[in-house]
């Protein structure tokens, strides 16, 4: 099942995260070109990242992110070394992607 690879680093009180999702991210145009059916489009709709149960990053997304999209984001005020950043995403077909990474 597709998921997230997450790298998180705590420095000077700010956690920097680099996350890569494995997802084809096909747009409507690409689906039409490759399969003749726009309904085969499938891309991520919504992503959240949480630490200790609190949301630290949240995005609602369109068909225009790249294939196997890479995100970088930062947060502060929560999360110590050893805590886990947990990411969840849902795509257009309703499938869930998950991943977690330890803050180093």
């Amino acid at each position: 099942m597709a998921g997230f690879k997450i790298k998180a680093k705590l420095k000077n009180g700010v956690v920097s995260v680099k996350a890569m999702a494995k997802h084809a991210m096909t747009t409507y145009d690409i689906a039409e070109k490759q399969t003749g059916d726009r309904e085969n489009a499938n891309f991520i709709f919504h992503i959240t990242a949480t630490v200790n149960g609190e949301t630290v990053w949240e995005a609602s997304t369109s068909q225009f992110l790249s294939k196997n999209p890479i995100f970088k984001y930062k947060f502060q005020g929560i999360g110590a070394k050893g805590d886990k950043v947990i990411m969840t995403a849902t795509d257009r077909k309703g499938k869930t992607l998950k991943g977690k990474g330890k803050i180093k």
Binding site: T27, I30, Q34, S60, Q63, F64, P69, K72, Y73, G77
Partner: protein, 153 residues
Amino acid sequence: MERRKFLSMTFGALALATVPASVRAEDWRKAKPTVWTAKTVDDAIKAMYGDVKLIEEGIKIKTPDVAASGGAVPVNVKSSLKAKTVALFQDANPESAVIVFDINKYSVIDYDMKMKLKSVGKPITITVVVEGQDGKHYVGKRTLDVALGGCEG
């Protein structure tokens, strides 16, 4: 019937308004579907925020001057504004909304992503709108060229 419906709508709106920012999680695809089908940047901004005045300050957008491939254009958005949401639009693809971030007390707005930008034979403008906690809306823009490719994969 009408009055009851109106009252229940008001309570609903009140309930949303009183939820603290760190708890409110918003899936903008569900909450505002017309944002994602709007073709122009102006229409998408209107669908997301209404007819608001945009103050041009407080937002930095970084991209290469020329993106070699439209399939994965790196974009960075930075802002130290106290925000509720950050929305990114562009004027090259079939629809203009790309991503909407929900901001809370933990957020540090220094976000990177890779996006598809359709090569349309002329410079492309990325527009970022920040909905401020002060009720105002801020905007930043960045223009770049895309060499080839984009949404067609």
